[in-house]
């Protein structure tokens, strides 16, 4: 029912946690809604235009947790522009998400973009 990669991220999620909200080097994206069954909070720590670290917290199904965990792994080392180009289909493909779970990867893409925008707005 779940792919091995989804199970791995669910059982051992990468980069769970939060950075200081007030930190100017941090961009935070919160997407989704409790009524819809998923909320992702994704944070990027940026140094010299590059993402050096990332954190997430997610309320959602296993695929949503896996999508956000994967997103935090992928953004690390990327520039903001590169990170903003990560697409939901890449995430869905990597995790072998079934069609009913595609919205989880869409949410992860949105969370990255929201965090990048938040960082830019703070500068």
């Amino acid at each position: 029912m779940y792919s091995d990669k989804v199970l791995d991220h669910y059982n051992q999620p990468k980069n769970v946690g939060s950075f200081e909200e007030g930190d100017l080097s941090v961009g935070t994206g919160i997407v989704g809604a409790p009524e819809c069954g998923d909320v992702m909070k994704l944070q990027l720590k940026v140094e010299n235009g590059r993402i050096v670290d990332a954190r997430f917290k997610t309320f959602g199904c296993g695929s949503a947790i896996a999508s956000s965990s994967l997103a935090t792994e992928w953004v690390k080392g990327k520039t903001l522009e590169e990170a903003a180009q990560i697409t939901n289909s890449e995430i869905a493909e990597e995790l072998s998400l079934p069609p009913v779970k595609i919205h989880c990867s869409v949410l992860a893409e949105d969370a990255i973009k929201a965090a990048v925008n938040d960082y830019k707005n703070r500068q």
Partner: protein, 408 residues
């Protein structure tokens, strides 16, 4: 099953039950030597099969205080519900075109009702209160001179709420309206009596009460009033012409035995179920905050515990309970991406509906299983809450309702 894995725990008895070994034992000869067609009236093979069927029918009837002749055998409660609703609508359609049911009924009731709407019938879907109860005053007010049928379930399959059947029956009788009750979840779990409760039609299913799958029954009252039904299946005229088709003899024998056992053991079993359910509930409540009970606190099925673990999405919780079988009202478990319509009808909010888990306990549930379940649920909820942005916010005193969420 993998021997290195712990023995799985089954807490999904509302979905289906295992066949009781005593039931299976009783059925076996009917797959072998007693293989006849119960409708073969002219030889002993037929007579032997018929005898098994009639004994089974009698046991089914006794469980609900009915007569054997009033039991129409079907393939399950879905068919029974359809036959009751469509059969009454067709037979009594000239008398009136209005039916009353409620929003938390099973789809096997709601969908035939919607179908009738498309054929020109009027259907009232009564709302429920936050505990899943209908309002008897609203029911009374909904009855018109066109009303021919009230269809209300005995016990809800998701939240376990028990409807006040006796009061509904009295009301129906006073107004001259037929009362159909889907008792699929309640039969064998709580006492039911069609006479005392004024029920004219009742749906039952064997596989929810330790009998086999694929067999059910519809009780159809024969006296005061004599209820008539137009059949859905036309053919050889079996079952008083209401349901044609060769009878599932082993299934009926098993169903009968399941009913006999339930009748004898129901009271003792209910006490045990309630004790286990309370052990589970108290065990979880002692270790977890933000825990909400869905359904009625006392008027509920003995084995049903439906809980919302706020800030933890139901499917992700089930994923963590790898060796425990439960079910969830969360959207992620359905194709529609919408949470359970039953939980929504309670008005608890979609956020809590997404966080719900139904534990349904049964005959073979043990204390040890309950204790292992408590341990695993607490560990998983705790882990997932540490990962939940909503739990952080709640702990920080932020009112989640005050936030403008970017829904999708």
């Amino acid at each position: 099953m993998n021997p290195t894995h712990p023995k799985p725990i089954y807490l999904d008895y509302s979905a289906t039950t295992p066949v009781d070994p005593r039931v299976l034992e009783k059925m076996l000869p009917y797959f072998g030597e007693v293989f006849g067609n119960a409708a073969s009236r002219n030889h002993q093979f037929g007579w032997a099969a018929e005898q098994g069927v009639e004994e089974g029918r009698e046991q089914i009837a006794q469980l609900i205080g009915a007569q054997g002749k009033e039991i129409i055998i079907t393939s399950g409660a879905t068919e029974s519900d359809n036959l009751a609703i469509l059969g009454v609508a067709e037979m009594y359609g000239k008398k009136g075109n209005h039916i009353i049911t409620c929003v938390t009924e099973h789809k096997a009731v709601l969908d035939p009702a919607h179908y009738l709407e498309s054929k020109g019938f009027e259907v009232t879907f009564l709302p429920v209160d936050p505990q899943g109860m209908i309002d008897l005053k609203a029911l009374e007010a909904a009855i018109t001179d066109q009303t021919i049928l009230i269809s209300l379930m005995a016990a809800n399959n998701e939240i376990g709420t028990l409807h006040p059947l006796k009061e509904i029956g009295q009301l129906a009788k006073a107004k001259g309206v037929l009362f159909h009750c889907d008792a699929t979840q309640a039969a064998g779990k709580i006492k039911l009596n069609v006479e005392e409760m004024g029920i004219d039609l009742m749906s039952l299913s064997a596989h929810k009460m330790y009998g086999p799958k694929g067999v059910g029954a519809l009780y159809v009252r024969r006296r005061q009033p004599r209820v008539r039904l137009a059949p859905i299946l036309h053919g050889g005229g079996h079952e008083r012409g209401m349901r044609s088709g060769t009878l599932n003899v082993p299934g009926i024998v098993g169903f009968g035995e399941a009913c006999r056992l339930a009748r004898l053991e129901l009271e003792e079993e209910a006490v045990k179920m309630i004790a286990l359910r309370e052990r589970l509930y108290q065990g979880l409540a002692a270790k977890l905050d933000y825990l909400y009970l869905n359904g009625h606190p006392t008027q509920r099925l003995p084995g049903n515990l439906n809980l919302s673990f706020a800030f933890v999405e139901g499917e992700s919780l089930m994923m963590g309970l790898e060796f425990i079988a439960v079910s969830s009202g969360s959207a992620c478990t359905s194709a529609s991406l919408e949470p359970s319509y039953v939980l929504r009808a309670l008005g608890i909010g979609d956020d809590l509906a997404h966080c719900s888990i139904r534990f349904s306990l049964g005959r073979f549930t043990t204390e040890e299983e309950i204790d292992r379940t408590i341990e695993q649920v607490v560990a998983t909820v705790t882990r997932l809450r540490e990962m939940s942005p909503l739990y952080d916010m709640a702990k920080a005193g932020i009112d989640l309702k005050s936030i403008q969420w970017a829904g999708h």
